[in-house]
């Protein structure tokens, strides 16, 4: 009896320790790999927009990719926000518990299950030609196209968290408002939204965090130029897409520069997720 107790304990400890070791190992090796680039460029790495791999003139700056990441993610969250907001009210309040809400909810969850590469493919064959046909850009690649795909990809995260938060608003409060003669609309805007506000906000922060790190679909649609985008339909690169695009042929200082970008991305998404979780905890 005691022996099996001991074995159970050892297995639990060992698995947890392994996971801690792996994640610490990843962070450490990222840090280690970024040392050469940091030594060479210091903090200038973050604000420089020169990306020049020519031997002898090697110079690397992450600003175009940081800008690309932030801009595409903002486009995504702005497109996602009204859609996810309405859908979560649809599922979580208006048609709560009905078959219709069940169907819509399942469809939304299904969006989350589609692999990134499939989104990329769809974007490449459907969305990109559409952008060209509309005359928005010559080849259809760019931060706007990538932003739309990102928006579709993060909608399920924003929607499902907001829906849960909306459903958590107690029916006692809602009935209290109804008993005072409130309409459905009044209850939504005066009771549900004020009470679910911080949770809904958090769902967008977490969705934003996901948008920052999305790689494959973005890489296929953004155009992959190492310049800071100047307009909506310009091409660019995100931190994730430049790594995906260039790691294969990179070595030495360039590889170190890419690893540093990876480390930065890791830190940024970590901070965003941390903020989101902090707000949820405070609720």
């Amino acid at each position: 009896m005691f022996k099996s107790e001991k074995i159970t304990k050892i297995i639990l400890y060992a698995s947890s320790a392994l996971i801690v070791l792996v994640s610490a190992g990843i962070v450490l090796s990222l840090m280690n790999g970024s040392i050469p680039a940091f030594k060479e460029f210091g903090l200038k790495f973050i604000i420089s927009n020169d990306w020049n791999p020519t031997e002898g003139k090697e110079n690397y700056g992450a600003l175009p990719f940081i800008a690309g990441t932030v801009i595409t993610s903002f486009i995504a969250i702005i497109i996602c926000l009204p859609l996810a907001f309405s859908t979560s009210l649809f599922i979580g309040e208006y048609y709560r518990g009905t078959r219709l809400a069940g169907i819509v909810g399942t469809m939304v969850d299904m969006l989350a299950g589609i692999p990134s590469i499939v989104y990329g493919l769809w974007g490449f064959y459907v969305l990109r030609p559409l952008i060209v046909d509309l005359g928005l850009s010559a080849q259809g690649y760019g931060i706007f196209t990538a932003g739309i795909i990102l928006a579709i990809m993060i909608i399920p995260y924003a929607t499902s968290i907001s829906t849960e938060i909306i459903m958590m608003v107690s029916s006692e409060l809602k009935e209290g408002a109804y008993s005072l003669g409130a309409t459905r609309k009044d209850v939504i805007f005066s009771v549900i939204i004020p009470n679910a506000r911080s949770g809904i906000f958090t769902s967008y922060i977490l969705a934003f965090g996901r948008a920052l790190g999305e790689t494959m679909a973005v890489t296929m649609l953004i155009g992959n130029t190492n310049l800071i985008p100047r307009g909506f339909f310009d091409t660019g690169n995100t931190m994730a897409s430049v790594i995906a695009n260039q790691f294969g042929e990179a070595d030495g200082l360039k590889l170190s520069a890419l690893i540093t970008i990876g480390l930065l991305l890791f830190v940024i998404t970590g901070i965003i997720n941390g903020i989101g979780k902090l707000i949820i905890k405070r609720m």
Partner: protein, 260 residues
């Protein structure tokens, strides 16, 4: 001499042949007929699951919020068929207080009192607002306790204060009827006593319909009592008469604690 009330002259509420089912075959309330006397406290008591809350919630049509509930029969408010009114208008004329205090946590005490006006988009001048808030909080004997913290959130108050705030919120519209669904079941004895005293005071101006599982509460504050059992209105009479000399065997057994 006890008697079952068959008829009440000029009732505020007149419930006629009211049956309510949560599922098609499962009736929670069956064929209730009763008139509710103006400016009195009428208690609805009975064991849990007897249908007393279900009956209460039919009066301001809270059941409309849930699509699977079937209702037969009529409720008249001052002679008007409530099913012909819009639920929104009806609920403005009938205030409701719930089991657990439910002030709106995002609103101040001041705004909670005015919530009915705010929710219905009725704009008032500042002086009118101040007047309604003070008068209503006076009515529920809460004014002296909160007059210096009107802009604080209502959820900072104690449970009993919160419940009186909810009563104020329901009264701010000067409703014809005040419905209370076991309003003291979440309160301690001291807070309960305060709410009971308040209800006795309020019946001067309001008709009060009170659901309670607490017989002694019904005895303390109600003028009329209904006893419900398994969805049926078993007995309805003056509280004094019913407690001294119940007519139905089931009422007697309930009142003497043979079941609860």
């Amino acid at each position: 001499m006890s008697e079952i009330i068959k008829h009440i002259e000029d009732p505020v509420l007149d419930i006629q042949k009211l049956s309510i089912a949560y599922n098609k075959d499962k009736y929670a309330v069956t064929d209730v007929n009763a008139g509710i006397k103006r400016k009195r406290v009428t208690a609805i008591m009975g064991p849990s699951g007897c249908g007393k809350s279900t009956l209460l919630r039919a009066i301001n049509r809270m059941h409309d919020l849930y699509s699977n509930i079937v209702i037969d029969g009529k409720v008249f408010l001052n002679g008007e068929d409530t099913s012909e009114l819009s639920a929104i208008h009806l609920r403005r004329k009938i205030g409701m207080v719930f089991q657990r205090p439910n002030p709106f946590p995002t609103m101040s005490i001041y705004d909670n009192v005015l919530a009915g006006y705010k929710l219905n988009g009725i704009r008032l001048k500042k002086t009118q607002r101040d007047e309604i808030v003070e008068e209503t909080l006076q009515d529920v004997t809460l004014w002296d306790e909160v007059k210096d913290s009107l802009l604080k959130k209502g959820t900072f108050l104690s449970g009993g204060q919160q419940q009186r705030l909810c009563i104020a919120r329901a009264l701010a519209f000067k409703p014809d009827v005040l419905l209370l669904d076991e309003p003291t079941s979440a309160l301690d004895p001291v807070a309960t006593k305060k709410v009971e005293e308040l209800l006795i005071k309020l019946k001067k101006n309001y008709t009060i319909l009170l659901v309670t599982h607490n017989m002694s509460q019904a005895a303390r504050i109600s003028d009329f009592s209904m006893f419900m059992y398994m969805g049926e209105l078993v007995e309805y009479g003056k509280t004094k008469d019913m407690f001294i000399n119940p007519l139905d065997k089931r009422t007697e057994e309930y009142l003497t604690g043979k079941f609860s």
